[in-house]
């Protein structure tokens, strides 16, 4: 902007807004996708939670004088139990009596009604949720039925669904971190899916055979998991060595490792099965099960309602972000990716940087493998197939350049989320899996295309700015 040129306030704001949009295109895409998913999943919501349970209890107490006696009806699910517990706590506190409770199906309600009638008892009201209130025996019981009101809200935008979306894609996002480093150096790593499987299988097999299986101590299980991660990191180091010492193109080096690691994972799993049945018999490439609760905690547990894989993902993202923006190593990675010769002539230890990058990528894949094994309570030799492509898609959609030197960790997080949201949106919208592939592929192309168009958008913006602020030629 030449000095002394005044610009209208509206023009300035428009320019700022365009600027912001242009610079954070992937964020805009993510928000748009969330809006679309929300609109497509605008449904009637029947919450079955402790909050709605307490609300039902209040309804009952308002309508019927204490001491009143209530029949509680719900299905036999985890959420229903939480719901029922809240109702009963609410009623108990007000001195109401629970005439009976049903966890099950309409038939169970009829049986309970018969039991109450048989014992000569009676009750004043039925407390239940929207679904069970539609059941025949509940409607025909001849007593007032209380259920929480329903409301309209996007299913996509419920805490449960959002946590679910992120949780299911945490492994992809974790691997995408390592992949971002590799892609920043203008490389590629195709072996991550196989390393994920190898890490999971090694953790499971060693947990079973060296650390005592179901009786393994937490320390033993941790050691098994670390062994899995270390193996994957070692795999990364191997491809790094191929790339640096022998100048093998990353695509080829990691393609080799991809097959090698997958084969190893299968051999280990089959070998373990064979030993399990006492040798001689056919081994099958099934998951190596680990029946220790501690082993499953990482993948299935939660802290303060947030699933562990999400927490792990967030911690790793923050760490990777700091690594790339605040440390010498991060600077070196960007320099090597931007111009390897200039980096070398500036004293950057190029070989060491590349080795570390591939090793880290392997380690991240290994961590994701541990999460996967823990989630499925066993190491699956076929886990992570085609993950490499999803991960690369996430990194590229997140704005990194395959030519190296350009990309950010935050961008990758958003890229991974974009891919997760697309998948989830398609699932909720009930799109069949073959069609999903088509939509998914097209959306990835569109996202990358948008990124490519960014310079053009920027130049159009510049032209617009000039048009609105043109100065007379002196």
């Amino acid at each position: 902007m030449p000095e002394g040129v005044s610009e209208s306030t509206a023009g300035r704001w428009r320019r700022r807004l365009l600027d912001l949009l242009g610079r954070n295109l992937s964020v805009v895409v993510l928000v748009l996708l969330c809006l679309i998913s929300s609109a497509a999943t605008w449904r009637e919501q029947n919450p079955i939670t402790s909050r709605s349970g307490a609300a039902v209890a209040r309804q009952v107490l308002v309508a019927c004088q204490a001491p009143c006696s209530v029949l509680v009806v719900a299905r036999d699910t985890e959420a229903d139990r939480v719901f029922v517990q809240a109702i009963e706590e609410g009623l108990d506190a007000a001195g109401a009596r629970i005439a009976g409770r049903v966890f099950g199906q309409p038939r169970d309600v009829r049986l309970e009604l018969e039991r109450i009638a048989g014992t000569g008892g009676s009750f004043d009201a039925i407390a239940t949720h929207r679904i069970a209130s539609e059941w025949g025996p509940v409607r025909t019981a001849g007593k007032p039925v209380f259920a929480p009101g329903s409301y309209y809200w996007p299913t996509f935008l419920t805490a449960r669904n959002l946590l679910n979306v992120v949780n299911q894609n945490a492994d992809i996002a974790i691997i995408a971190l390592g992949m971002t480093l590799v892609i920043l150096t203008a490389g590629i790593d195709l072996s991550v899916g196989s390393l994920l499987a190898l890490a999971g299988v090694i953790a499971a097999v060693t947990a079973q055979e060296w650390f005592g299986g179901a009786a393994a101590s937490p320390a033993g299980l941790l050691a098994a998991m670390l062994l899995g991660v270390a193996a994957a990191a070692l795999g990364g180091l191997l491809s790094g060595t191929m790339v640096t010492a022998f100048r093998v193109p990353p695509f080829v080096a990691t393609l080799g490792l991809m097959m090698l690691a997958r084969g190893l994972a299968l051999i280990l799993a089959v070998g373990h099965q064979r030993r399990l049945v006492g040798g001689g018999a056919e081994g099958t490439p099934e998951a190596v099960r680990v029946d220790a609760a501690v082993f499953a905690w990482l993948g299935n547990g939660a802290v303060l309602g947030v699933p562990n894989p999400i927490l792990l993902m967030l911690v790793l993202f923050v760490a990777a972000h700091l690594l790339m923006t605040r440390t010498m190593f991060g600077r070196y990675v960007y320099a090597v990716g931007g111009n390897v010769e200039a980096a070398r002539l500036s004293g950057v230890p190029v070989t060491a940087v590349l080795l570390a990058v591939y090793c880290l990528c392997g380690a991240f894949a290994g961590l994701a493998g541990i999460v996967d094994a823990s989630r499925f309570e066993g190491g699956r030799p076929n886990a992570g197939e085609l993950y490499e492509l999803q991960v690369i898609a996430a990194v590229v959609v997140g704005g990194a350049s395959l030519a190296g030197g350009r990309g950010r960790i935050a961008g990758t997080l958003i890229g991974a989320m974009i891919i997760a949201v697309i998948q989830n949106g398609l699932n909720i919208a009930g799109v069949a899996s073959y069609e999903q592939k088509v939509v998914f592929g097209a959306l990835i192309l569109a996202a990358v295309l948008l990124d490519r168009l960014q310079p053009k958008i920027a130049s159009r913006r510049a032209r617009m700015t000039r048009a609105s602020t043109s100065t007379p030629v002196q």
């Binding site: 440390t327 600077r331 111009n339 200039a342 002539l345 500036s346 000039r466």
Partner: protein, 512 residues
Amino acid sequence: MLELRRISKSYPGVDALRAVSLAVGAGEVLGLVGENGAGKSTLIRIVSGAERPDGGRVGLEGEAVAFASPADARARGIAVIHQELSLVPQLSVRENLFLGAGWSRRGIVRRRWEEREARRLLGLLEMDIDPDTRCSELSLGARQAVEIAKALALEPRLLILDEPTAALSPREARALLREVRELARRGAAAIYISHRLEEIEAVADRVAVLRDGELVRSIDRRGPAGGDDGLAPLDRGELIEAMVGRSLSAEFPPRLPGAVGDARLEVRGLSAGRRVRDVSFDIRRGEILGLAGLVGAGRTDVARMIFGAAAPDRGEVRLDGTRLELRSPRQAIRNGICLLPEDRRGHGLVLSRSARANFALPNLDRFRRPGGVVDRRRERRAFGRWREQLDIRLARAGQRVATLSGGNQQKVVIAKWLERGARVVLCDEPTRGIDVGARYEIYEWIRRMASEGKAVLLISSELEEVLGMSDRVLVMHEGRIRGEIADPARADPAGVLRIAAGIGLPEEPSVA
């Protein structure tokens, strides 16, 4: 032939061209000079169809034209030789020359004809290149020559040359200038852009000076006062003054006080294949040692070997009496050796990163906190200090270095080594492609580094520069040092050139 009337073009924040009117006639060579950012490149982009003017009219042979694309301009006989090389390195010279459309016979390559034609074109430039050599195996200078031959193959009506000799040896450059004159004699028009005023003097019928997007002077050299070639001599001082808008008392800053001390860098018997043969010399503390020679004489290889970027077959280098290992640039930097590489954009800078990040790259260990964390405050402060001292002009602190002018880019490279505090500074073509004003500033910094007791090696293909700046000059020819000039200020440039070209050299190295 070509007529520009009141051409204007502005980019956000700059008026690149303001109502510039220019004309080139058939058979005429127009020299176009100006500092970087004066608007020369923008003008060329408009004439060659890469960019459209905001205002004004482009006329070609009396007819108003608006080129849709560079291909459109090319079809009308306008050929541009860019500063950037546009050759495919994996293809041979011949394949590159005839890469564009229109050379084949119904899609079938005419190999015989191409071979003949390639030899003819390369012969025009006095280039001794086998047309079947892969371009990746050629030196930068030879590649530039191929680029020029490629443009000549089109037999253009208007040839635009943008700094065409930046990577050429003097001999190649002279041949090119001759060919440009020859094209003009046959009726073509040419626009010749160069920072090298002696080339402009050799080739241009008229000279136009651009400054800050305006045409500030136009000099027609034809007329009664003409010399042998019918052209009046050019007053270079006047030209420079017009370009920078201020008068430069001398082209080179004076030597700063500070005695030349003991030998700081001792090079003994450095050899690498046929490129460098048995090179030995000393550079003393506070001395600027010039290394003259033609492109490909091995000067860059010598610098790269001292810096550890290339491995010698034989020879040793001592720094302050200690023998160096010459294993990697990293080690050289630790020992206090630094290099301003010839290919600034390819080897000196990470173009996708900011000026500050480039500055910090070799200095990160100095801004380091425990755990390898970069202390960004210290980094910013150090960069701010050098930015101010070197007058590095940035629009924003985080501006990508790719968008800086050549002079500012070179200053970023200098800043990173100044922060490092080197003992030996190897400057390989430090002012290539840099405008006159920034050039002078870079000379001043080279002088200052020497006066601080550093040993400076100055490699330059510009004789005036190497003679004007150095305390002592060595001349290389085909990998060997063939002459030493003890008093460059009073040396005869023609004599130096003869040694560099290998004319009349005895078998043994001589001392001039």
